[in-house]
């Protein structure tokens, strides 16, 4: 009985130690992500932004460590100013620039996640608070909530399947709070339509951008020109 109790106690304390340490989780995460020096992928984008109607479109994603990111496509599209794709990895990589604590646990998409709060050590950073929901079994960022000084809060949800061992998501859902875009009747010269109710346009609404990735090509060492060349 005593032996069983000791085994149980050691197991509980080991388990608690493993998941209570945010640095371990981040280290595991960074180890996986450091395996990727660059990648390209096909991306399908779906937009649901208040006051903006646009069809889905597709393009090609280019990424190089630590934070060079570009989507190349023909046409107009919207991305959050604080691009979570670009910032998330860079934010976590520099472990000396922030302090991290686990503020709780939550299940995200069936995964038991530790909520790791990242607080920058220096005030020079744009970041105020980064919350990362990291799967404790297989360290992957399942969800983020990044609050910045100028660009408000951006939430992302990541869905992983095939390339989870590189921490590369198959789908990212970006949620941004924004006011509905308003256009004066004279500016739009839209004489047939009624002017919008001001109280409705001033209210914050949640916009969603869904990025679906496929055909990842990892560590192919593509040219840097991909980040600067004009779109076709």
């Amino acid at each position: 009985m005593k032996n069983i109790f000791l085994i149980l106690l050691s197991f509980i304390s080991f388990h608690a130690c493993a998941i209570d340490d945010p640095k371990t989780l981040i280290r595991e995460l960074n180890k996986k992500f450091n395996m990727v020096s660059d990648y390209t992928a096909h991306v399908d984008m779906k937009f649901d932004i208040p006051g903006v109607k646009m069809n889905r479109m597709s393009g090609k994603v280019f990424f190089k460590q630590p934070d060079r990111f570009r989507i190349r496509t023909k046409g107009i599209f919207f991305l959050p100013k604080q691009n979570p794709m670009q910032n998330m990895s860079a934010m976590l990589l520099d472990t000396n620039s922030y302090t991290s604590i686990i503020s709780g646990y939550e299940t995200v998409g069936g995964h038991n996640c530790a909520i790791v709060n990242i607080i920058p050590l220096k005030n020079i950073s744009e970041l105020i608070l980064g919350k990362f929901w990291i799967d404790v079994k297989n360290p992957l960022v399942m969800k983020t909530q990044i609050t910045t000084k100028n660009n408000g809060t951006i939430e992302t949800e990541n869905i992983f399947t095939s390339t989870s061992h590189y921490t590369l998501p198959d789908e990212i859902v970006i949620k941004i709070e924004t006011k509905k875009i308003k256009m004066s009747k004279l500016m739009s010269a839209d004489l047939n339509k009624k002017a919008q109710d001001k109280s409705k346009t001033d209210a914050l609404e949640t916009g969603t951008i869904r990025l679906i990735f496929s055909n990842y090509k990892i560590n192919t060492k593509f040219s840097d020109n991909e980040f600067t060349a004009a779109d076709n």
Binding site: I49, G51, I76, F78, K81, I176, T178, M183
Partner: protein, 282 residues
């Protein structure tokens, strides 16, 4: 038919010979080139008044200031002025001849009064069509040559609609067709008033007044005006803009086209009816 063709040819020649015919082409060319120059110089600044609303949250990627956007802005601007240019020519098609007395000579030709009215109305429509061709060349083709082709960021009172570049040519085709139908209403109204009046200035001024009053009514969101708006042809004249909405309000566009078409038929029928019974006293 032979008499009709002769009258139509004669009317076309008369239209070409009048200096005022070319004012329209000159105005369109000038406005297009002027706005293209302004957008080439300050386009990004002008656009920032629209994009500035969400620049804190989003970055817009892609080529916004392109030929399609310039054409959209030009069409939006000119669709208010073009009826006035059409009125200049169609407003005195018959009244001008009545005032100068040449209508008597015209009525001595073998063509019936009905045929004369239709020929004059058709010459007005051909002039309108040519105006739109010039607008198409300058607003769309030259804008695309200067600013390039790209997705259209269409502005309407509900926000922005992004129309993809590969889905836009048919929309421009239909937009110019609706613009032709709209200006056709003005040309028909001009012909009708021209039949009714005996001097060339009054019909032109009347058309301008009607368009200005109807447009002002359309600008205000007042309950009384809301009841009137569906009956004003100016409300349906800007239905071309609906072609740049997603999802496409096909029913609304179609009903506007039908209403515009019936306006043309009504104005032309009244013109023929009135001219057939008109006493030429001048």
């Amino acid at each position: 038919m032979k008499e009709f063709t002769a009258v139509l040819r004669n009317e076309m020649l008369k239209t070409i010979r009048r200096p005022r015919t070319f004012i329209g082409f000159g105005v369109i060319t000038f406005i297009c080139l002027m706005l293209q120059g302004a957008f080439y110089q300050d386009g990004k600044e002008i656009l920032s008044t629209v994009t500035g609303q969400f620049e804190n949250v989003f970055t817009i990627q892609g080529h916004i200031l392109n030929g399609n956007l310039i054409c959209y802005i030009l069409l939006q601007t000119l669709i208010v002025q073009m009826p006035l240019l059409v009125a200049f020519v169609t407003g005195d098609l018959i009244s001008g001849e009545t005032a100068s007395g040449t209508i008597r000579f015209l009525l001595t030709t073998p063509a019936s009064r009905g045929k004369i009215v239709v020929a004059k109305w058709l010459s007005g429509l051909i002039y309108t069509f040519l105006l739109l061709v010039v607008l198409g060349i300058f607003a769309l083709i030259i804008s695309r040559a200067i600013f390039g082709v790209g997705d259209l960021m269409a502005m309407n009172s509900e926000g922005l609609t992004i129309i993809r570049a590969d889905d836009i040519n048919w929309r421009w085709g239909c937009a110019f067709l609706i613009a032709f139908l709209s200006l056709g209403v003005v040309a028909s109204l001009g012909t009708m008033l021209s039949c009714m009046m005996d001097n060339s200035i009054t019909p032109i001024v009347t058309i301008m007044a009607v368009i200005i009053i109807f447009t002002i009514i359309g600008l205000f969101d007042m309950p009384t005006f809301e009841m009137i708006k569906p009956f004003l042809f100016t409300t349906h004249m800007i239905s071309w803009r609906s072609l740049f909405e997603e999802p496409l309000p096909a029913k609304t566009i179609l009903s506007s086209c039908v209403i515009l078409f019936f306006h043309i038929v009504a104005f032309l029928s009244i013109s023929i009816y009135y001219f057939k019974r008109k006493d030429i006293t001048t």
